[in-house]
């Protein structure tokens, strides 16, 4: 009997040592077989899908911007636009016809030639009558388009309903705008979400749901060849686990870094990337009724809030103080514009002049964190409540979940409330339209602010061609809305990412996209 136990024990020891030796050797095998230039990028979730007509999430965009391209693209580090699949374009004198000349000798990753037919096909599937209701960005991107025509094999013409310059910025977006291989669209009917084929620097290889998605270098790419041979997107839900994975060497780059993990990452020699995101976190006054239909009272409240202190305290250095509704990298941003400064005495004086020294107001807010406000609406509202108490204004706070909250704001409940916006196309109009009185009904103009001068300038801005004259219009708009104080801009939340010191050329574009063709290790 004893011998039997001895035998079992010995077998156990043997199996264990075999397993452990195996474990040790497997990592060496892994390094030997892996290609030297594979960049692993960890993000929090799978893409929703890879057909740009049907998705609107950032996780999908990060993958798609490396596979697909549009006619136009953004410049590095800003939302100014430059040619991509189109080499140049002309706009008719009435501003309604956009004619694009297309790049020669470009092929999709499946060998299909890129030409006017491909562009027409892609636009037509997203405008009536072919567009379907579940295309989240079709009406935003192609809403202004009446028709698209092929002029020649390498030239197409869009006809718009009216002059609308932001249309160019729409064509640079990763959602709705990219040009897909028409052959692939026909071939993978209904399964295109998992079989993307574009003209971009990387070709789709495979997608293991909830695990990873692999891209490889597109050897026939028309532009500058990508530096890495493969890019792997790894899906790791928990922020802190992603950070641990980076430190342990399981990944090269991570996005969505938790501020709490930054010290740990830096002490492990990892590099932390921080930049302003394309968003705005703001406090809005309900301008449609008393008390805040009076601009003087809005001014008084604005003077009462110390935004520098508030942003520093709430966001611990991972958001920047916003002075304009526009993030600084958007063409037309005016750095001279400042909201009313922190001045308690002036705030009290203004209230006294208006005979409202004992003002009582109702604040409504949302209970959950938002992309532009990581601490959630409740904390923000409480901080503002404290500032208001210092000037003798009594405020109550009602907090709701996001869905209910949106209805409350739309119904005009609350005198003061919190909201935010994540930009779509990087055009100034995309942010400043939130002050358009025509958007009160759609609830985009949440403050229900109405100023004919602002409406007129917005119309003018949409009609002017990109350039200094157009930027001047937006600067003027920022001055007016800042003076009228329908909003008090609070902060721009920052994009936080981290990467291994081996990695070079990594950055996050202001739109949130990560372009891998320049990334190396």
């Amino acid at each position: 009997m004893k011998r039997k136990y001895l035998a079992i024990m010995l077998t156990g020891v043997f199996v264990l040592s075999a397993v452990l030796t195996g474990c040790g050797s497997s990592s060496t095998t892994a390094t030997k077989t892996a290609t030297p230039k594979t960049i692993i990028f960890s993000q929090g979730a799978d893409p929703r899908g890879l057909d740009p007509a049907f998705v609107d999430d950032g996780e999908s965009a990060k993958v798609m911007c490396n596979i697909y391209e549009g006619l136009i693209k953004y410049k590095d580090g800003s939302t100014e636009i430059e040619p991509s699949l189109a080499t140049d374009w002309t706009i008719s004198p009435d501003g309604k016809e956009y004619t694009f000349n297309l790049r020669k000798n470009v092929k999709f990753q499946d060998g299909t030639p890129f030409n006017a037919d491909a562009v027409v096909f892609n636009v037509e599937r997203q405008i009536p009558p072919k567009a379907t209701d579940d295309m989240p960005y079709a009406s935003f991107t192609y809403g202004p388009v009446v028709k698209i025509e092929k002029i020649s094999d390498l030239s197409v013409k869009f006809t718009l309903k009216s002059k609308y310059t932001p249309f160019l910025a729409n064509l640079a977006m990763t959602l709705a705008a990219p040009v897909l291989s028409p052959t692939a669209v026909a071939k993978y009917k209904g399964k295109l979400m998992e079989n993307p084929v574009g003209t971009g620097p990387y070709t789709f290889v495979s997608w293991d749901k909830n695990q990873s998605l692999k891209l490889k270098k597109n050897d026939t790419y028309w532009g500058v060849k990508p530096k890495a041979d493969n890019v792997v997107f790894k899906f790791t839900k928990e922020n802190s686990v992603r950070a641990s994975d980076l430190i342990a060497g399981g990944t090269d780059i991570i996005d969505g870094v938790d501020p709490n993990d930054i010290a740990k990452l830096e002490s492990s020699n990892m590099k932390v990337y921080k930049a302003d995101g394309m968003n705005i976190n703001y406090m809005a006054f309900n301008c449609s009724r008393a008390p805040f239909n009076d601009p003087k009272l809005r001014e008084a409240i604005s003077h009462a809030i110390n935004r520098d202190e508030l942003v520093k305290y709430l966001y611990q250095g991972y958001a920047s103080v916003a002075n304009s509704p526009l993030p600084s990298f958007i063409p037309g941003y005016d750095k001279t514009v400042q909201p009313y400064n922190y001045d308690v005495a002036k705030a009290k004086q203004l209230l006294k002049d208006a005979g409202k020294s004992d003002l009582k107001i109702k604040i409504i807010t949302y209970s959950n964190p938002r992309p532009y406000n990581s601490v959630g609406g409740q904390k923000l509202a409480e901080a503002v409540q404290n500032y208001l108490a210092k000037i003798g204004v009594t405020a109550t706070i009602d907090s709701y979940n996001w869905t209910d909250y949106k209805t409350k704001v739309a119904n005009g409940e609350g005198d003061l409330f919190f909201y935010g916006w994540t930009g779509d196309n990087g055009d100034a109009d995309n942010f400043l339209s939130l002050f358009d009185s025509n958007e009160i009904k759609s609830t985009l103009n949440s403050a229900k602010y109405s100023n004919p001068a602002v409406d007129a300038l917005l119309v003018k801005g949409r009609a002017l061609a990109n350039g200094e004259e157009r930027n001047k219009v937006y600067k003027e708009l920022q001055e007016i809305v800042s003076k009228d104080a329908a909003w008090l801009p609070i902060s721009h939340s920052q994009v936080l990412a981290a990467y291994s010191p081996k990695v070079t050329g990594f950055s996050v574009h202001p739109t949130g996209s990560v372009f891998f063709s320049g990334v190396d290790k």
């Binding site: 474990c23 497997s26 695990q211 790894k234 839900k237 342990a248």
Partner: protein
């Protein structure tokens, strides 16, 4: 026996109807509008209405429920609202990962649980007994989420014994036969993949199995204590049999029935309840899939997955009942 199995299988019908009704009502009455979620921040009211119409969400709730039930009867769980892919395919792609993790966890929990339980029972009230019971108390009380993070910090980041998360090193995935990486890699003789999969499996399996280990250990201890006081054990000892054959040959064999019940129930729970472990270790299983779907109100995914889990739970229990009959000849089903 066959009659019994058929009877039990027929009982699945009311279970499926009950579960489907419950999950359908909960999803449709207490969650947000998926049309608004799909369309995002530019959603206009008329667009949302049109999409609701297209998705069939404007029909009366009993009509929607009937459509859903009819789909199930045809073996069609519908398409995901978000990814537009068939729910059945998505579940099947993830299910092997869940099975592999649950099996590894239950094997770990059974081996260690029974060993700890037997030792505690033999050495009742000794220091070894106390140590085993404190360990199992810790196992039951420690939240898996926390335990998982601690494992990652200690064994993956500090000691670097195991990878932080995932199921296998990227690029080493074996050819799919069963979807269980350990089996597929062995079957194809792909040893690097086998060891990589094993290394990835150990931490999540131990974390997931920790609570079950504790439950099994406590169950084993108490039944063993009961059994060793029985007359036939005293007789065996009086005959002069050695202690080991008495414990393993007589006592443990007789104590196994309640232990197997617990193991069976635990396996059922592990198959459906690995949500937290899957989240912490980024294990690409069904648990994580359903949680992500709940967050975006993807009805078909949640409904399909919950139904599937319910059926599996019932089947695992049936299997345990059948195993009884083999272990204990006194049990007969008619």
């Amino acid at each position: 026996m066959v009659k019994y199995i058929i009877k039990r299988l027929l009982l699945l019908v009311p279970v499926i109807i009950g579960v489907s009704m419950l999950v359908f009502l909960v999803m449709h009455m207490f969650t947000t509008d998926p049309a608004a979620t799909i369309l995002g921040q530019h959603a206009k009211q008329d667009q949302i209405l049109a999409l609701r119409e297209q998705l069939g969400l404007n029909k009366p709730i009993y009509v929607q429920y009937w459509d859903f039930l009819r789909g199930i009867l045809h073996g069609n769980l519908g398409d995901s609202l978000m990814t537009k892919t068939p729910v059945w395919n998505e579940i099947m792609a993830r299910f092997p990962a869940t099975i592999e993790l649950a099996l590894a966890a239950i094997i770990f929990a059974s081996i260690f649980g029974i060993i700890m339980g037997v030792i505690s029972a033999i050495k009742q009230n000794s220091i070894v007994d106390y140590i085993c019971m404190v360990i199992s108390l810790l196992g039951v009380s420690m939240p898996i989420f926390w335990l998982g993070l601690i494992f990652i910090l200690v064994f993956a980041v500090q000691l670097q014994w195991f990878p932080v998360s995932g199921r296998i090193d990227i690029g080493l995935e074996p050819i799919r036969i069963t979807g269980l990486y350990l089996i597929d890699s062995l079957a194809t003789g792909n040893m690097p993949a086998f060891f990589s999969a094993l290394k990835h499996l150990i931490m999540p399996a131990v974390a997931l199995g920790s609570a079950s280990t504790a439950i099994i250990a406590r169950m084993t201890r108490s039944t063993m204590l009961e059994v060793v006081r029985q007359d036939y054990i005293r007789t065996a000892r009086a005959k002069g049999l050695l202690e080991r054959p008495i414990i393993f040959g007589h006592a443990l064999k007789n104590a196994l029935i309640p232990i197997i019940t617990v193991i069976g129930l635990q396996l059922g729970t592990l198959l459906g309840g690995a949500v937290l472990t899957e989240t912490v270790f980024s294990w690409p299983g069904v648990g994580k899939y359903v949680v992500d779907a709940i967050l975006v109100t993807d009805y078909p995914v949640v409904q399909g997955t919950v139904m599937m889990m319910a059926v599996i739970f019932v089947l695992v229990n049936l299997l345990v009942d059948i195993i009884y009959a083999f272990i204990d000849p006194r049990i007969k089903y008619s």
